[in-house]
Symmetry: D2
Subunit: 287 residues, 4 copies
């Protein structure tokens, strides 16, 4: 559970399938004294697509990264790759948006404190004051930015100011406001939301009431990247639990809370470890 | 795993909540020398509804049933009950409708032969000849009734003739035709279908292709009673399995088949044991 | 999610199977103006045993309870019942024992604060100071009682003094000490422990290391009542998660922590709602 | 669901961790015109072990395999590899041993007929005649080899004669006899057994009765390679289902049967696809 070494790096690669990609990438790293720690590669023969995640160690990686990226760009161009190379250290910087409900927030902060979520959490933003105490008890800065449909523009301006340039990921931990398309567009594949249903079932408002009304026997939650279209972004993870006739809408909410916090925490951990690759509004999750 | 005794009976009761229902029902049975074996009762305080299932033994039940029903009707009327009283023996008579796929059919027949599905299976009807051999190897009658959109009326007339009056339940074990509203109306809460998705997600055709396209992380199946509205009847059971980026549409179909056969077989077993009560397009399943 | 009314009561009944038990019990309550809210009854025909849980409302129950118990004792004697009648209010009083790990404690306190665990928590006792801050941030009294094998007698004397007579249940939330048989004997079916394996596999110390060594594909946790024999008390609940070759012992511990906290919290909730009946070192859990 | 092409091959590699293994292997294949389809590699940093599975296509692989193996042996020696290179075609040849229970056998044969288990099944051997009809209805040879403790040597001699040299894998599909150490030693990592409990809990006889006695809340099944020590071989897969107080020993057996057939079929599929690598009595399963 120790933090990975400073020389640990990761690559996520997507390209049209062609012979020799793995050989080229592994030779590239080997020739630069890299050691592969974990490689997961998959070719989709039907659609002719190639996906790969590599975790490696390479001496003095932080200093050499810019040069490596430049050199790799040539190879990448040859194979028409979409790719990124990241450092496992320093940790990614995460801002959490919440409203009044604390279950997802508490789960994230507990896992963060336990060393399971390897991130920095410089900031929690809420449209309510309710969770200030919880957040500050973890030594984390809490900012109250009131937000209604009418004041959304001003609120988002303030949020953007607070986020500045030092944040890598925004987590919507049951933040009950809809972000503007403009805001979302500035954070592509960098906003994770937890929707309280098994999408695409019960998109939109009050999914538990919808689920109760339909009489489903399993309820779920879905963690996804936020895109311009509501509840339609790439799905990262989903979970379900069995429910029965003894469970009323309040019980579904209670059971749902436990699914939500597990699913969101898992999706966030995968993102932080560069395990998620988005292609055609779907995710490839290397686990 | 022995069949229950001939004196075993069951009651399913729904009524507005009122004090004294359990006392009245249990006294009714006790005064007639009945012994309660399993009672499951639930009151929904929000909506003021009372649900109960009772399994009991009562000497000479088969002979006494008509009289008992008549006596119970008085008590039922007093409490505004919707109710039914059934014998655990003889076994219910089930007809299975199939097309070309055998996985649900084989599962049902294997469980039937193993003594897990306590039913008689006098008849399998198919719009194709493919599964005749499988069905007849179990000693069960197979009838081929070709059916297209154009010939549905004639086909349903023939099906009704074959079913006659001696069938209690129709199972659509991946029968790929849509039944007419008129046919469905004659079998209220007596047709069980398996839909190959986690309803209400991906209703209609090609749910696995839809699921692949949306990039879901769990796929499912749903067993439900058939009503006039396609894929919208009361849900009896649902199941899901995790899928990933290595799974293409064919893999989803393969994984889905295993979910379908388990979910359908479980729903059918619950129906055969009189565990399912329908109210307001939802089921109460006493398990 | 509101607390039940003051007039809500529960009965747990075990007796040899005999005709008329349900009728007798429901008539008993009905004649005293009780209303049955939830009744779950099961007869084990093989071993001839009868189990029942009843949840009911009865006017002025708190005042009438002593008289009711006296009256019911006659009926109970007639049927050779083992039974108890409890009030849903006031909440049960729970003491939590912990060592240094906070995951089970935090889960319990979060659920308690969220209104999901309907209990009073007057006291947390630990053999270490580490979790004082966490506990006190919830406004709960924290007592440090150092304990080693050598000082166990003195420690247990101090613990007993702190518990006094006002505690209904002790939860061992990863309390890493073994309680003496004498201490355990004073709290029959009133101490719940979480063992970090799928019992009876890997009883004793270091279960995750044992599980890793054996190469199991699922790891688990077990909540059980504590008896004089280590890790052998009646099991209340168990859970498992899938693990793989990428998981080392530290990963198993991390994954196991999440199973432990869910399983322990669920078992405690069932106990608090009087859903657990112990017979022949096994539990009947009415859910 | 089509069979893989004749030029499809697989490699399973285990060696002490050293820089450059992936680069060497992928270059080896690339230089011989191989195309990597699926590569899954993992380094265990704690124990310094390297594991890899590669699925690839290489022109004229069947003809070139012996030469390739010879060439690869040099590279393997350099890295101290334990390894094997296999053809995805032709299918592996499987013999199934059964006694009287048909659930595991039927599941395997159904999946085989459905194209999910890519194997040839030349032979089923049983110590009873009961399942001859089932087996022969699939067009598969059935051989009755009576076997008791007293006649085991003769029986195993006859079994070995029937197996000859043309079988790659033996599946014990609820074969209720214990094989001799000598027999087992001739089939290292080539006999898969299904044990009807969640090992290591309830090894030995009557695991469901043991589970009932202990009052567990989940029951399970374990597929493992057979070794000289009973129920102690490397675990390939495990599964569990929830059980409750309404389930008696017969119910546990019934529920268990469904776990057994799923777990065994999954383990067999993984073996057939060369996804299982054994090291230190544990398996690495590349899924």
């Amino acid at each position: 559970m120790n933090d990975p070494s400073a020389d640990r790096g990761r690559m996520l690669i997507y390209c049209p399938d062609r012979r020799g990609v793995v050989a080229a990438v592994s030779a590239f790293l080997f020739q630069r004294s890299g050691n592969l720690l974990d490689m997961d590669q998959h070719t989709d023969p039907t659609e002719g697509r190639f996906f790969m995640r590599v975790e490696f160690e390479l001496p003095s990686l932080p200093e050499r990264l810019p040069a490596l990226e430049k050199e790799f760009a040539q190879l990448a161009s040859e194979f028409s790759m979409t790719w990124r190379m990241t450092l496992a250290q320093p940790r990614k910087r995460v801002a959490i948006f919440v409203s009044k409900q604390d279950h997802c927030l508490t789960e994230l902060l507990w896992r963060w404190k336990a060393g399971e979520l390897r991130a920095e959490v410089p900031l929690v933003i809420s449209n309510h004051e309710d969770l200030r105490g919880t957040v500050e008890s973890y030594g984390i800065r809490f900012e109250h930015v009131p937000c209604t449909a009418a004041t959304r523009d001003a609120a988002e301006a303030r949020q953007s100011e607070l986020l500045g340039t030092g944040v890598d990921l925004i987590i919507l931990a049951r933040y009950m406001q809809i972000l503007s398309p403009g805001f979302v567009a500035r954070w592509p594949e960098r906003i994770i939301n937890i929707h309280h249903s098994f999408l695409p079932a019960f998109a939109g408002a009050n999914p538990y009431a919808q689920a109760y009304q339909r009489g489903v026997k399993l309820i779920g939650a879905t963690a996804h990247y936020v895109t311009g279209e509501l509840d339609a972004g790439p799905i990262i993870d989903q979970g379900v639990e069995r429910v029965g006739h003894r469970d009323d809408v309040e019980d579904l909410k209670r059971i749902g809370r436990h699914i939500e916090r597990v699913v969101l925490a898992r999706a966030v951990a995968w993102h932080l470890e560069d395990r998620v690759l988005v292609h055609a509004n779907r995710t490839v999750v290397f686990t």
